[in-house]
Symmetry: C2
């Protein structure tokens, strides 16, 4: 089993890490489209084009599933469930919305995300497609990615920032909260401390992992993760190490095309 993922940069590695927990024996290839990051401010048509190109690249590597490990690229790809050749394609949005609705009793669902994702309202729109009576409360959290990138995970400043972002959602009475940015699950512990046990946190990577159709065809020879980058990116390796954590072996490759 060979799973391909892509994101604009390093963030999607948090999705890979979660998939590896569920499917530790699979082979993984990851494409970081660093030449064209960030995706958050690109026009939908541009993102659709990049997504198609990235899926094609991964398929050429022989993957038998593709995961769009990026919320911006996922937002323009909700209806893509397979490639022309029939390879299943998963995005990080639809499974997390389904899980949030499944877990919620109050049908009041919180979504924290980047400014771009929040503005696109893609989560609210998809959740209401599934359940018109659900109430979705969205909060843009632009300071969280820089805080994570600074490694300020357990930190008084991060707690203050999280409190400010989360309190309005908690006051709305949400009972499930989607962590709708690849970096946010790294803050799961401080978020859980503020939200308390009555609010279920939804990690989109976990939702995807539970949905992937598993094949028994494992190639034990390739357990090192192949990371393809479309451009040299400063600090990528140190960020990748910090996001993947110890014990996950990877190599960086630059496609020549």
């Amino acid at each position: 089993m060979h799973i391909g993922l892509f994101d604009s940069g390093v963030g999607g590695l948090t999705v890979l890490k979660e998939l590896k927990k569920y499917l530790p024996q699979a082979q993984y290839s990851y494409l970081g489209d660093t030449a064209r990051l960030p995706y958050g401010n690109k026009a939908p048509e541009t993102l659709k084009k990049y997504t198609a190109e990235n899926i094609h690249f991964l398929e050429q590597l022989g993957v038998d599933s593709v995961v769009i490990a990026c919320h911006s690229a996922s937002s323009v790809s909700l209806t893509i469930t397979q490639t022309h050749r029939g390879t299943p394609v998963y995005n990080v949005i639809t499974p997390s919305c389904q899980q949030a609705l499944h877990e919620s009793k109050s049908q009041k669902i919180g979504v924290i995300a980047t400014k771009a994702t929040t503005k696109s309202a893609v989560y609210k729109s998809y959740i209401n497609d599934l359940e018109p009576n659900a109430q979705v409360f969205s909060q843009a959290c632009p300071l969280l990615v820089p805080l994570v990138e600074e490694g300020m995970i357990q930190d008084e400043i991060t707690n203050l920032v999280l409190n400010r972002y989360l309190k309005p959602l908690i006051n709305h009475g949400i009972d499930s909260l989607i962590l709708a940015c690849t970096h946010y699950p790294i803050l799961e512990q401080p978020i859980a401390q503020i939200c308390g046990p009555q609010i279920k946190l939804i990690n989109p990577a976990t939702s995807v992992a539970k949905n992937i159709i598993v094949s028994d065809d494992y190639d034990q020879s390739q357990q090192r993760i192949q990371i393809y980058l479309t451009d040299h990116a400063p600090h990528f390796i140190e960020h990748a190490k910090s996001l993947l954590g110890p014990g996950i072996d990877f190599e960086i490759l630059y496609p020549t095309s």
Copy 2:
């Protein structure tokens, strides 16, 4: 008098605003190279190429001075003092270093900047070229730009972040501090509160403004600032309004080349 400035994005408008305080009657043209931002992670050779192209673009508009209103582009352009045609070119680094040395009694100078500028050590290197005995203490402050962009200028969280960044510099005994990123002068007031009156804050835009050779040739017909963008950038207009403040009129143009 017609002054041209460029930056990768919106940040250089803080330099323009400062220049306009000193030279209110000059005409201003600003190039935001939004198609190729951010500059902070580009290779020096690439930045030199962009800088040459941007200077050429501004010169075509008929400016009689060019200000490189970007610390990354300035860092690769310290020796450029005029164009081929003789138009003076100013960067934001050399005048602020000269001013910091001039103001400092202890010869202990602090520099706060982005990660990229801090890593390049360009301020330290230039200050020590001027004064080998000066001690330069640099601090990367990656959270400040997102805090400014969120408008969190007078804020408990920003004060905590500033305290963490500034305390080590204060403990080193600095008596002048260069605000070496276009966004930082917006935080001048909270920074001054933490640093106290014994530390002189150096705003590079002010240092440049004091250095510009003034001509008496004013065209009163064009007082609206022309902002040229190389690509459509979301939120540029609202950011520009917030950085320039009320009473500064501008229009956005897209060069067709």
